[in-house]
Structure formats: structure tokens, C-alpha cells
């Protein structure tokens, strides 16, 4: 009799699962570019991360006595897992990915009550925790041109083969920063970027296309109304603005905004990380502030700080501010815009 106890009795045909599924779909172009660039090792990482996430989720749900199937199939854990796999170096040992994913799922997510209640972005917590704990492993990116078969890549990830020198390269961002530091002013950015082996047409060689993939996915998400425009635009704006000012001031020392936009985690961050509604700001102005500051901090850390990329820390630092930002950017409600 009391099957429908509360109004409204009509519901739109939407669900969390579908939202998460669309986010996963939107990641596919980026993943495709990634595979084309590095080889299928990233797929192995995605599988490892997914399995670890589902396992961690299942154990935590069981411990917390929450319905298993309902939450395992909501897709949120898989989204976190994929973001972690994409943020980590593709040839990281399997245990590094697993540690990162479990840290994200268990500590950043379930200790706060699971889906929807985590104040920090789980994927970024995983990245920050791992880069602080295993800085060397987290900076070993495969040198481009390193052609390894799937089997070889798998062996490296599984720890069966020794980690060869050729694969311990650095990201374009890191390479640029290190070169500038070592050069002590003797080298300048344009010369460095002319080296087409490392740096491509407008950003890191090859990596620029992965970023384009993320951009495409992000635009699709926006078109599907899964994400709003404010945060990505503000994030890109913050990053670009700072980069542009410094580049205009001293192009010898600072790379162009375009380079920064298509390097590292900028676009993955702009469309898939700062847009996370749970840990991000939710008001119109709040989203703009959140995105802008995250972009600016990411730039500052990646250029002046001690870590190769700053997106993760920038997002976490802004996650900290979200309750305050939201509190002070409440939009006026209906009827409050009247004069008097």
C-alpha cells in the first residue's frame, strides 16, 4: 500500500550510475590517444586500478554494512580508479597503482561516508600521497620512442622485468623545469622547446594529443550537461592568465600558456578533476573562484614548486577552501533581487 510514500510521484529518468558512465565514456578519447602514444600499458593500468577500486569498495561497503551491489555498480569507484591510472606514470609497478587506489577509496572516500561525502578528491589524494611517498617512481615516465611490446610492458608493471633506464624519462614539464634549473639561466625556453624529440608542436611531444583527447571528452560532457562550464573555464583561465603574464614578461624563462595548457594534467584536471561536484564548489561564483585559484596554484607549484606538476596539490588545496567558498558565495534567492 505505501509503495510511494513521498511526493513527487513522478521522477525524471536520471541516475548516478548514468552520470558516472558518461564520465567514463568521456575519458575514452584521451585514453585512445594515450594508447597510441605509449602503447597498451595504460590499459593494463586501467584494469589494475578498476579491480583494486572495486575490491576496496566492496570491502569497505561490507565493513560499513551498506548495500554492496547498489554502490559497487554506481560507477563512482571506477571513475576514481581511471583518473588515478591516467594520472600515474603508465609503467608504474602494479602495487603503486593499487596503493594509490586503495588510499583513495578507503581513506579519502569511505572514511568520510562514501559516495558524495568526501571533502577531498580521492584521485588527487592518491596522487599526492604517492608522489610524496614514492617521488622517484612517480616521476619515471617512459621516454618517448621507447617501443615495448605489451608483454614487455606487462612484465615491467608486474615487476617481473627490471626497470630499464630508457623508461625513466620525465614528463615534458619536468624536463623543462629540470633543464632550466640545471642551466642556471644559460639555457632558455625557446631553445629547449625546439628539441622536437621531447617537445612537440605546441606542448609535450605526443602528450599534447592526449590532452586534446581530454578536451574533446570534456566538451562532450559539457554538451551532455554533466559538467558546467564555470569550473573548467575558470581553471584554464587561471592557469593561462598566470602563464601568459610571466611569458609576456620573460619568454626566455617561461614557457607559453599553450605549452602549459596542453602539458601535464592541465586538461585532465580542468574537465575531470576540478569538475568533481562532490569535492568542488557548487555555487556559480564559487565555481569560478574555485577553478581560477586551482589553475593559478597549479601553475605556481609546477613552475616554482618542488613537484613536477601542481594540479593535484592545487585541487586539494582548493578542496580545503570549498566549504568557505560555498558559504560566502550563496546566490541570492527568488525574491531577494527586488529593490528593497
Amino acid at each position: 500500500m505505501m509503495a510511494w510514500s513521498t511526493p513527487p510521484y513522478l521522477l525524471a529518468d536520471v541516475s548516478v550510475r548514468r552520470v558516472m558512465l558518461q564520465v567514463l565514456v568521456a575519458l575514452l578519447p584521451g585514453i585512445a590517444a594515450y594508447v597510441w602514444l605509449i602503447g597498451p600499458s595504460i590499459l593494463v593500468q586501467l584494469v589494475i586500478a578498476t579491480l583494486a577500486a572495486l575490491l576496496g569498495e566492496a570491502v569497505m561497503l561490507r565493513l560499513r554494512r551498506r548495500p554492496l551491489l547498489l554502490f559497487l555498480t554506481d560507477g563512482s569507484a571506477i571513475v576514481s580508479a581511471w583518473l588515478i591510472a591516467l594520472a600515474f606514470p603508465p609503467l608504474s609497478p602494479w602495487w603503486l597503482t593499487v596503493v594509490g587506489v586503495l588510499f583513495a577509496i578507503v581513506i579519502a572516500k569511505h572514511l568520510y561516508g562514501g559516495l558524495g561525502q568526501n571533502p577531498f578528491n580521492p584521485a588527487m589524494i592518491a596522487f599526492a600521497a604517492c608522489i610524496v611517498s614514492f617521488p622517484a617512481l612517480m616521476s619515471q615516465w617512459p621516454a618517448l620512442g621507447l617501443k615495448l611490446s605489451l608483454a614487455e610492458q606487462f612484465e615491467i608493471i608486474a615487476g617481473l622485468a627490471p626497470r630499464i633506464d630508457a623508461m625513466s624519462g620525465a614528463t615534458p614539464l619536468d624536463a623543462l623545469k629540470t633543464a632550466l634549473k640545471l642551466g642556471e639561466g644559460a639555457v632558455d625556453v625557446p631553445t629547449l622547446l625546439a628539441n622536437q624529440d621531447v617537445f612537440g608542436n605546441f606542448a609535450g611531444r605526443g602528450w599534447e594529443w592526449v590532452s586534446v583527447g581530454y578536451l574533446l571528452g570534456g566538451l562532450w560532457l559539457w554538451q551532455r550537461k554533466i559538467i558546467t562550464w564555470q569550473t573548467p573555464v575558470a581553471f584554464v583561465g587561471g592557469l593561462t592568465l598566470l602563464a601568459a603574464i610571466l611569458w609576456a614578461w620573460n619568454p626566455q624563462q617561461f614557457a607559453s600558456p599553450l605549452f602549459h595548457l596542453f602539458s601535464g594534467g592541465s586538461l585532465l584536471g580542468a574537465f575531470f578533476i576540478v569538475t568533481d561536484p562532490v569535492s568542488g564548489s557548487t555555487t556559480f561564483r564559487g565555481k569560478l573562484i574555485f577553478g581560477f585559484l586551482a589553475g593559478a596554484i597549479a601553475y605556481v607549484i609546477r613552475v616554482f614548486g618542488g613537484y613536477p606538476d601542481g594540479v593535484a596539490f592545487a585541487v586539494l588545496l582548493m578542496n580545503l577552501c570549498v566549504p568557505l567558498i560555498d558559504m560566502y558565495t550563496q546566490p541570492p534567492i527568488f525574491g531577494m533581487k527586488n529593490p528593497k
Binding site: V14, S15, G335
Partner: protein, 581 residues
Amino acid sequence: MLAQLFRFKGGVKPQTNKTISVQEPIAQAPLPARLFVPLHQSIGGAPNPLVQAGDTVRKGQLIGGADAWVSAAVHAPTSGRVLAVEEHVAAHPSGLPTLSVVIEPDGRDEWIERRPVDHQSLPPERVRELLRDAGVVGLGGAAFPSHAKLTPARSVAMEQLVINGAECEPFMTCDDMLMRERADEIVRGIAIFRELLAAREVLIGIEDNKQEAIAAMHEAVLRLAPDYRVVAVPTRYPAGGAKQLIRVLTGKEVPASRRSTELGVQCFNVATVYTAYRALACGEPVLSRIVTLTGNVERPRNWEVSLGTPMREVVALARPRADTGSFLMGGPMMGFEIPDLDAPVVKATNCIIAASPGLFPPPPPEMPCIRCGACAEVCPHELQPFELYWFSRARNFGKTQEYYIFDCIECGCCSYVCPSHIPLVQYFRFAKSEIWAREREKQAADAAKERFELRNARAEREQAEKAERLARAASARTSEKKAPPERTNAVDSPPAAAAGEPAAAAATDADAIRKAAIAAAMARARAQRELAQPKNTDRLSAEQEREIAAVEARRGAQPATPEATAGAAGSGAPAGPQRGE
């Protein structure tokens, strides 16, 4: 028709499902065997019953008088005999009873004397009084007494009178049909309201999915009052919310904290206007209303139903299909599940929907909120429902008020779009009623505190006076030994009385008298309890009678007070022995 329209933010577009119930004209529902007319059918004070069991009433006779300014009268929907004035289940989500007049129709449907009046010849206060005594309330569903909304603000000139024919709730068509069939009466009714408010402009807002109603109203307006404007508004739920319609038609936003008259605008439902017209021009109070019967039924249709008709008999008219699981009163967005079909149709019953799992699939399990913001996007009051939810769920009511929970109109848009299927409205209602309850408690506490302090002050004063008196008496005694003590004056009554009553035993000390009386009463009560307790059900009636006699004797010995007689009358004769239960 070329009015500039404004937009309200948010809103949703659910399937309207309105066509099924507009195929046939409004029909008159038959009178049931018994009418249960609740006395409290409007917002505001509960009317006092003016009839009692056994009275005969005529159609339209006042049976409940408005007891406050914000209150509306209730009338007998037909002629017949009052069987009882008792608690009967109410048309309310709680399923709790409310004081109702039970009428057995005599079938003659005899009217009282109807006195049509010309509202133009009467002063406005008198017209408002007439409307109150005719029981005219908002028939859109809120049932707010209309006369209370008909006073213009002193400082602001009334610019627009908005007539609400939007009817945005899916399935519901009672206003649609009313406008199609009785447009003339509506337009004439508008004139009454316009005059009372001295409104400069009249705007009739109708959602653009009701073309026939728009045409009918348009035609009537052209004929009767060409300066009214019939405006088609875009179909978007909740365009029929008073504040949303005012926004769309006039661009004004009425916040929860202010009255719309302060902004020079007022809004009435078409059905309300219609009843106001009937009340004044025909002298007929509100006795029935149009109810849409639709949903999972064989014969969806609009019926004119006498107030007080049990819903069970009403829904039978539509022939619900076999898989109907429950019935909703109101629309699917804001209505509620009727807990008991014995509940009567009241002034707020605009629609009854037969619900089946096919029609309204049970909601998927509630997931946690992911703060996606979809609810904030559709909220017509531009609130942050996910924040309200977060704090309502955590019972942090102070915070919910900071996020303007009382501006929520419970339209259900947020729940409709929620991907986590959270019953958000339910959380908000919970928070609101908790806050109200706390407010009541707070007021009670303040009153209690005040009374406590008054009492303490009085006690202190009495103590001081007594001390002073004693001191004076003592000094008097010491100075003039011959004078009699003052105290004897106070107990100057004849000291002797019946010997059997220790209470009246001769004694000079008032305290002693009282103590003795109490001791005796205690002994009596103890004896009575000892007798009463073991023999509730199994003892013989002889003993019971003796007991009753004892009780009666004791009661007779006490001076009768109005309360005492009332108590005795109310409790009935064999109260003594049964009390032990």
C-alpha cells in the same frame, strides 16, 4: 495577448497527462449516504461547530462559524439530519482524525434562503465578511481564506490582479474544465476581487497547453470585461505556483518574507474566483468543488463533488483499474497518498489520482547526494536544495534556516531531477515541521517561565505580607492583651457540625481541620482503590453499585461547581469502579 512575459528560473517539464480527463464535461457526483464535513478546512483558526447531533440542517446552512479573521466558515452541503459532531479521519497525509459534522442527507436538497447581494452597493469590509461567512478559500490546494488576501496594502497601490488558471500539475484538469464551461462566472467573479483590491490591471494566466480554456476565457473577457488580459504562459512546472505566475506575468518576485500586496500584486485561483461569484451573486456558499478523477482508472473525468463526500465513493465513480495500489490527493508532484479512503473530499481536494506501479514506478533506492547541483538548477526559488538536504539530514536546523528553508514551496522539482533519487521535499518538510515544533516549544517555555516568575513574585509578596501581619498581631497582643486575636475573626463560622464528618469537626485551628480532612480523604481513597483494583471486571455488580453510591455520596457532599457537574455529566455514571484499569 502580446504581453511581455518574464521567466522564472528553474522548473521542469514532466509528462502532463492531462488530455485523458478532459474528454467529457464536468458531471455532478451523486450524494453519498453520509457526509463527513470537517470543520477545519482552511488555513487559520478552526471554526466552532454551530450544530449538534439531532439537528436538521438545510443546504447551505452554516454549521461552523469562522472564529478568527483568518478562518473560513463551513456549511451543510445538502439538507438532512446531523448524526454527530465527532472526530473523523481527515483528508491529510497523517490520516489523523479531525472534528467533523456527520450529516445524513434527506434527499430533498432543500436550500436555505439565498440572498444574492450586489457587491458594488456594499462597503468592502462587508463584502470581505460575506466571503468569509460563505467559506470562500483558495481552491488551488492551499485553502487560504480568500477574504484575508483581499485587503490592499496601505502604502502600495495595487497594480496587477493575477488570476491563476495555469494549473501546472500533471494529470490535473479541474481548473481547465471550469474555465471551459464556466468562463462567464469566472470573469464576473474577477470583477468583485478587482474592485476590492482596486487593481489597475487584471492578468489571467493560463498555460499554453490549454488552448480551449484560453479560447473560452478570451471569448468571455471580450464580451464582459474587455480590459482584462488573458495571457498564455509557457507550459513549465511549476508555472502555476502563485509566486511563479506573478513572476511570469508581472516580473515581480515575492519573497517568502513579504506579502504580495506589498509589491502591488495579488493572485487568485480561477476556481476561487468562481466560488466568490457564486457566493455573492447567487448567495450560495461553498458547498462543492470540481475534482479531477484520473490516473489508473477506466473513466477519467471531472466531477462536481459535495464537500464531505467520502473519497471511497468518489473514486468509485471513475472505476479504478484492478492494479491500483493507492490514491493520491492533489497532483503527482505535490500531492500526497491518501492514508484512508474514508477521508472526505474537502475544499483543498482538487484531484484524486489512482496510482499503480505502472503509472508511478516506485522510486529506485535513495543514494547519497553527489552535489551535482541539478536540484539547484531547477529550483524555482533559486535555493540550494542539496545544502538544505545536507543539513536537514544531519538535523542541523539552524543551518537550514540560513539556507532559507522557509522559502521552499515544496514543488518537488528538486526530487524530480535528483539522480540519486533523494526524497528531498520530504527532508525539507521534516525540517520545517521540526522547526515549527521547536518554535512552539520555545513559546511554551517562555510562557511557563513568565508564569513561574509571576508565581514566585506573588509567593514572596504573600510571605512578606504574612510576616508583616504576624508581626503586627504580635505587637498588638503584647500591647493590648484584652483585644481578641485577629485570627478568630477569620474562622468565625459555627464550629460545630455533623459528627460523622471529621472535616467539620469542631476545631479552632484551620490547619488542623484541613489535615484531618485530608487524612480522612486519603483513607477513603485508599479503601476505594483497594476495592476497585482487584475487581475491575470480575466482581459482582452489587459491590459496584455500592461503590458508585459511595462515590456519588461523596460527590454530593462536596459543593457542586460548574466544572464538577460538567465532569460528572461527561464521564457518565459507572465511572468509579472502571477507573482502576
